[in-house]
Subunit: 203 residues, 2 copies
DNA sequence: GTCTATAAAGAGATAGAC
DNA sequence: GTCTATCTCTTTATAGAC
């Protein structure tokens, strides 16, 4: 499923049916939740009949799962790429937070779905997603552990601090609105500072 | 609606019907969301027939609204009481965060409902709840503003920092589990430190 | 205040034509 | 691959007996 226009030579004005369904579902799930969204909501928003959804997806739940899986894997790539750009823990943590937060602000629609609709997944799908989310924790905790080991960071509980730093970014998906008081870049820059202070780095 | 046992002389083993409905609804809304919960789920969990719900509540939405309103007003009282215990901004912010976070961990069921089911409210009810939530922001921002004015805090954006500090506590409702790695007191104490660091207070 | 029974609408998913 | 039509079950809410 493509959620953005493909980078094909010809300009794509109308995404294909599968993509339109994915976009429509993402927006509906984000604003009304999985159980507050009907398959008719999705198919109508995608410009199709209710039956068309089942040509492209086995069920409403499987559509949510696909969106959630793609979203999680994309975010994991964002934070891994941020960490890979440096060897300095403070730089790594700062970049990670800045990119994670900016992403949650820019892509707040998708971020709401991946963070707040987990309970609607089947047990098997839920478990598969939790494995990816566990990687988020591991990446952040690892950066903090190395900062502490290097004497750059100081925290009484690296694990809880990692969780709190991720919390900051996740909650951005809950409150961020397009056209609000701050741009994604402004939030990202401020949260970078906050996260570094949380691990005891004075600027 | 009473959500805890009343302080009457005689021991109350079975709460009254209205209270049982409220408790059942709170737990169901917290775990499956408003739209994922049926009125049968609620009435059955409360030990009643589906029709009994409508003797005590006009609709499912009004039941959610009452739970949300009571929950918000209780939390507002928690943070106002914390601020009232001192005149020192650092002490006030520390107490506020500690009490807010502990409350969100202990009462995570109710906290999930008040923080994540707002979209299910009617427009009028939603607006009424947002007014209470605005007070949360005002209280925290005011403490930070006074800390900055007194030279105790340093932050490039008091408003965003206030939002981020509330975010930390709110997200506790999302991830906290009973019997998990930390007690509510442990989370609260650690988050107090994190919040003070966020405003530039070195311990 | 609680029940049984049910009305009325909405929901997920499928059949079969084109 | 999309449609119309519809099946079947679920859901909110109410009527009326006790």
């Amino acid at each position: 499923m493509r959620l953005v226009s493909a980078s094909t030579p010809e300009p794509v004005l109308e995404p294909d049916a599968r993509t339109r369904l994915g976009q429509a579902a993402l927006e509906a799930f984000a604003s009304r939740g999985f159980h507050g969204t009907t398959t008719r909501d999705i198919s109508t928003a995608a410009g199709m009949s209710p039956a068309a959804l089942y040509v492209h997806h086995r069920s409403k739940e499987e559509l949510l799962f696909e969106l959630s899986r793609l979203g999680h894997e994309r975010v994991l790539e964002v934070i891994r790429a941020a960490v890979a750009r440096s060897d300095d823990p403070a730089q790594q943590l700062g970049d990670l937070v800045e990119d994670f937060v900016r992403d949650h602000a820019v892509a707040h629609t998708g971020a709401r779905v991946i963070n707040y609709e987990l309970a609607a997944l089947s047990e098997e799908h839920h478990a598969e997603i939790l494995a990816v989310r566990h990687e988020f924790d591991v990446v952040v905790r690892d950066v903090i552990d190395r900062g502490v080991a290097a004497g750059a960071f100081a925290t009484p509980d690296a694990r809880m601090t990692a969780l709190a730093i991720l919390s900051l970014g996740i909650d951005v998906a809950r409150w961020y609105r397009d056209g609000g008081r701050w741009t994604p870049d402004e939030v990202a820059a401020h949260y970078r500072l906050l996260a570094l202070r949380m691990v005891g780095v004075a600027e």
